[in-house]
Each structure stands twice: as structure tokens, then as C-alpha cells.
């Protein structure tokens, strides 16, 4: 069963620039339309790591509410599509219900879906009990 964790109406260019300053990623394809166009991109793309951080927090909030004894141990992502500035997206989780939450072999999947409902990124999450 999939559960929707988070929904965004889109990230602005200003937010991308703020993330760039915080993270040190000043790749101009994230904030300079001319450069993005010159690279054949249809628009400014959101940093992969910015989206990763947003997804991490969505999962963390979900765990704090559902299973506060657990935290994220490992989070793997594979980006298959680009998320563009101001485009809406949502995050959904599909827990592996055949296994315990802390089982490292559990295939817990998290999906970053674009405005068309297609997966721009699929994550695999491994959870672990928090230290007491």
C-alpha cells in the first residue's frame, strides 16, 4: 500500500538559489535560464540533492509519527527524470509489509513523482532502531 507523505506545488528559483548557497552547489543549470537553455534543458532543474533532502525529511516525519523508535539508516536514490523549477511533485512510500521495519533486507520504496505522476526518482530506505 502506498502512502502519500508530502506534496509540493513546486520549488521556486529563489529556493534553488538558497539551497545552492547552503550546499555549495552552484551549478548554473539550477538558477541560470540561459545556461540551462544552452545545455538543452527545457528549464531550470532542481538539485538532485535538494530533492533527496526533501524526501529524507518526508520519511523522517512519517517515522516520527508512525514508529518514533526508528530512524533512517540508509537511503539510496536513482534519479530517472528531472524535476523542474515551479513544477509540482509528491512523495509516496510503499513499506515492505512482509518484513519487520528494521529488517535490512526489507524493500521499502519511496517514490518522487512528477506532476504527471511519473517517478522522477525511486528511493530504497533501510530503517534502524534509534539509540535509547
Amino acid at each position: 500500500m502506498r502512502v502519500r507523505l508530502f506534496e509540493s506545488s513546486g520549488l521556486s528559483r529563489a529556493e534553488l538559489m538558497q539551497y545552492g548557497w547552503i550546499s555549495g552547489d552552484h551549478n548554473p543549470i539550477h538558477f541560470d535560464e540561459k545556461v540551462a537553455d544552452g545545455r538543452g534543458l527545457p528549464g531550470l532543474i532542481v538539485h538532485g540533492m535538494f530533492l533527496y533532502c526533501i524526501v529524507y525529511k518526508a520519511i523522517d516525519d512519517f517515522l516520527l509519527e508512525k514508529s518514533p523508535d526508528f530512524r533512517i539508516k540508509e537511503l539510496s536514490s536513482k534519479f530517472s527524470g528531472m524535476t523542474f523549477v515551479n513544477d509540482s511533485f509528491r512523495v509516496e512510500v510503499e513499506l515492505d509489509e512482509s518484513k519487520e521495519l528494521s529488517d535490512p533486507s526489507a524493500r521499502n520504496k519511496v517514490f518522487l513523482l512528477n506532476k504527471d505522476g511519473e517517478a522522477n526518482c525511486i528511493f530504497q530506505a533501510v530503517f534502524i532502531r534509534r539509540n535509547p
Binding site: N27, C53, Y56
Partner: protein
């Protein structure tokens, strides 16, 4: 990041904050003379091993751990795997590994 005060207990730091300690990673591209606008981020994995606390001094050590090339093609490219280890007092507290696709590798 939107972490409200009540969700940050004591002096722990949300693990994901280390994802912003990437200045050293970008030095790699500078050293290799790779234009940032040719880069596409394709995969990333974080292994959060230990809790981080306010006041911790974190040292990051990035390294290029894998290189793949396809240069004899109409669209030559290179992919780099960059692995960064995060240390606190020489204790390994997290590791991340990601692949970066470098487009137009020969121009």
C-alpha cells in the same frame, strides 16, 4: 529544511544536515577542470551510522572511487562515482556515494 524546534530533541542534529557539507566534493570538479553545467546527478546513497550533535566538528573526505568512460561515440561521456566519508574525532559517522554523469566529455 522545516525542522521545527519540538522535533529536534536535546542537541541532536537531523542526520540529513550532513548532506550540506559538500564543499570538498565540489573541489573535485574544480581540480579535474570539469564545468559544473555538464554534470547530471544520477544516483546517491547515504549511510547514516551515528547521531550528530550540536557542536560536533565534522571532517569530510571525498574521493573518486570509480570512473567509467564512453569516449568513442557521438555523445561521449564520463561517469564518476564519488564517495565521501564523514568523520568526528576520526570516528566514521556517515558515508555517502553518488554517481555523476559528465556530458560532452571531450569538448
Amino acid at each position: 529544511m522545516g525542522y521545527s524546534e519540538e522535533k529536534v530533541h536535546d542537541d541532536t542534529v537531523p542526520d540529513i544536515f550532513i548532506a550540506c557539507l559538500r564543499e570538498a566534493d565540489f573541489k573535485i570538479f574544480e581540480v579535474l577542470d570539469i564545468d559544473l553545467d555538464r554534470l547530471l546527478h544520477t544516483t546517491q546513497t547515504f549511510d547514516f551510522m551515528k547521531t550528530i550533535f550540536v557542536g560536533d566538528e565534522i571532517v569530510t573526505r571525498p574521493a573518486v572511487t570509480k570512473v567509467r568512460t564512453k569516449l568513442n561515440s557521438a555523445n561521449p561521456f564520463v561517469t564518476l562515482e564519488i564517495t565521501t566519508e564523514y568523520f568526528r574525532n576520526e570516528e566514521l559517522i556517515a558515508r555517502t556515494s553518488g554517481t555523476i554523469f559528465v556530458r560532452e566529455a571531450l569538448s
